[in-house]
Symmetry: C2
Subunit: 438 residues, 2 copies
């Protein structure tokens, strides 16, 4: 059956709050940090939450810091491999091809260099920073099981989410493989969730440097990428970091909890015959069984790709409307700022021509109307909705009238929002021109 589209697949319920939390996380600094500056990167903040030094993946303990570049003021990630000694200059040059990979499913790599800034000899990879990211392991597998009537509740990941991961990573692999590279690390700790249901490959380029002296055929590495993707999804679908220890049993679990299509997909990734290395292929021989390449895989999951694609289009529409709404707020901020520039300027305190006559007098009362209203009981009205509604009418030049009351309550003036708009513009212009001198 054609899968139903979840309109908010990529959109968190609290989109605005989440974006604000991200902005905060990006701004966060570490007071009294003893961390060094590394080339032109300063204000390092460590992001590793566990102190376990995992050396199995890269062969070196690695650390992740966010840092600010003094060249462009932007925030980046520095991944540091401790105690790495560069023996061959060519090794680090292999990063050049990675800099060209610009894909929505790959954490972009900007640079790599060695440094003594940490007191040892470290290898540094500079990549894009995505505030508040979590690794797939952190997102899905580090849960404290909650018990439901005595039975442990599993955090079964929805199949739609799994397909979202598969299609995004497949799209990333397409870009990587088409550029003559292999991801080499597709791991629960090296795929990061950067926003709702959105994932990116995070460990790329590293092994190309550290294992530069142990070359392996590209075709083999690329086929292995697909196998690693299969293992990743198997673990996620089983909610178990060790699901690969018993592949048969784990696949059966997938068969019970997910669609047949997902099970077939994982099975293919794990078991398909790798593409015969070109060196072994008989001349002119064609292989009847489909090869284990990213293209074959993409063809097999076209329906799911189209599905994720449509989810992305919907997400675009939703974020664009949210942006349009916020732009309206920006407009209001500019109007109210103009009003503030104009009214109650101290240098005109004793200049009756400026302060108390004509348009500026209206605007002063209008500002009172916006912010200084009191209710029937004389209590201050502090409702931002009133302010926003009134400013929107000013901006739209509405013919509707509002009642302005002088501070001594002796005068009541009726004025249309359209008039207020005109007066704001003309007084502000006068101010900018410096025409209204003491």
């Amino acid at each position: 059956a054609y899968q139903k589209i979840a309109h908010n697949f990529f959109i968190p319920d609290d989109l605005r709050e989440e974006l604000q939390r991200k902005a905060e996380a990006a701004r966060q600094v570490l007071p009294n940090s003893a961390l060094p500056e590394v080339e032109h990167y300063h204000t390092l903040v460590p992001l590793d939450t566990n102190n376990q030094r995992n050396v199995t993946l890269f062969g070196y303990p690695s650390w992740v810091y966010k840092a600010v570049s003094s060249k462009d003021g932007k925030t980046y990630i520095l991944r540091r491999l401790e105690n790495y000694r560069l023996t061959n200059e060519k090794a680090i040059r292999s990063v050049q091809s990675w800099k060209r990979i610009n894909n929505g499913g790959v954490v972009k790599i900007h640079d790599a260099f060695t440094t003594r800034a940490f007191g040892d000899s470290s290898l540094i990879f500079v990549t894009d920073y995505f505030p508040r990211s979590k690794t797939l392991a952190q997102e899905h597998l580090n849960y404290t099981p909650s018990y439901n009537r005595g039975r442990p509740m599993t955090n079964q990941i929805p199949e739609a989410t799994l397909w979202g991961y598969i299609t995004q990573i497949a799209s990333a692999l397409k870009a990587i493989h088409s550029n003559g590279l292999a991801a080499r690390v597709i791991n629960l700790s090296k795929v990061i969730v950067t926003s709702k249901n959105r994932v990116r490959l995070n460990g790329c380029a590293i092994l190309d440097v550290t294992q530069h002296d142990i070359p392996r055929p590209l075709q083999e590495l690329q086929a292995e990428d697909l196998t690693q993707l299969g293992r990743l999804i198997l673990c996620l679908a089983n909610n178990n970091q060790n699901a690969t220890l018993n592949i048969q049993k784990s696949l059966e679990h997938v068969g019970r909890t997910c669609s047949l299509q997902l099970k077939d997909c994982v099975t293919w990734l794990l078991t398909a015959a790798p593409a015969a290395p070109t060196t072994l292929q008989s001349p002119g021989g064609t292989n009847a069984t489909p090869e284990k390449t990213i293209d074959t895989f993409l063809q097999a999951i076209t329906t799911q790709i189209i599905n994720t694609f449509d989810n992305t289009l919907h997400a675009n529409d939703i974020i664009a409307s949210a942006l349009a709404l916020e732009l309206e707020n920006g407009r209001l901020f500019r109007i109210v700022s103009k009003l503030n520039f104009i009214t109650e300027r101290p240098e005109f305190d004793h200049n009756p021509l400026w302060a108390e006559t004509g348009e500026r007098y209206y605007l002063k009362l209008f500002r009172d109307f916006l912010y200084h209203s009191v209710d029937a009981q004389g209590k201050p009205v502090t409702d931002l909705g009133h302010v926003i509604a009134a400013l929107n009418k000013v901006d739209a030049g509405s013919e509707e009238k509002c009642m302005l009351v002088s501070r001594d309550e002796q005068n009541v003036l009726m004025v249309s929002y359209r008039d207020v708009k005109r007066m704001v513009e003309s007084c502000f212009l006068e101010l900018v021109k410096g025409g209204a001198r003491r």
Copy 2:
């Protein structure tokens, strides 16, 4: 070769301005309009720019209006078919299945009904409204040729744009065909461009109603959708509304100006053998040649789909950052509003406790600092950048200090932005509580 990703494929250079123009277009009304209300839709505005009544597509002259629903306050499109008489109630019920189609490449259909509001008997389709949309014909084929050294310049559409259209429409057709429907109208005037490079099928559901009494096999209609898509792309690639009059010559032109892949794709769409109608298929017979179905087509263009998919992901990231920035503006608007609520309230004009002492005095001077600064020449500083920078420091609670000068220039107070932040919060809270009475 793997196509380079254009990061801004779906993002106009002036994203913010474009969104604002859209908001304006959506608000626009027609003064003194003689157009009727149609059921609960009011404030109709006609969107057809040419007065030619084109009857060939639907068999009836059609009109397009934007209108506001009094039920939800949202703006919709009403398409009116003039002089349509409903003879069979079942005809209009066929729209039910269309209401379920919720795809990023299909203009969503909300309702259909007949009405006498226009004085005749009209058939109305209610759909989503996309401000400032243009039909593909308006976007690409209505150009006034500009001459370049005596030779006419053609507005050749970039191939990436064509692939963008093909993949989006293919994705739309997948959703439509999977739901047992056919688009039936894929036409230069019935595919609309709703934002940069973003297209949607716009004429759906209409023929299912008007030709309800002339049923045709679904498989045939679906195969025809693909042929129509081929004709559409052929016209666009040739920059010529009539390119289908000489298909061979037009295909050759595509071969010269575009990639072989695009030419093959259009050729397949135009010429592939339609799927054999089920009624004619020999029992158990399998067809060796691939059938002309949307699934076969999707498989053939997987690489391009992945490409558009990635463009969409990038667009998402870009719009989300723009939104995050605007949210910061919203924050500033709220702070400055609080400041305005607090300072210079008329009811406290003569209450020295409120107006001139303690925190409120600081805030009054801070507001002067924000908006009423003068430069060395005594000229008003009307720079919004100064305001924004200072408010951001308040919001961030910066330790940095600013210098506040009393209006009589007798007092100079140093205060940190962090203190200002605290004072704004506490004074505003007091105000909300109504604690600061006369």
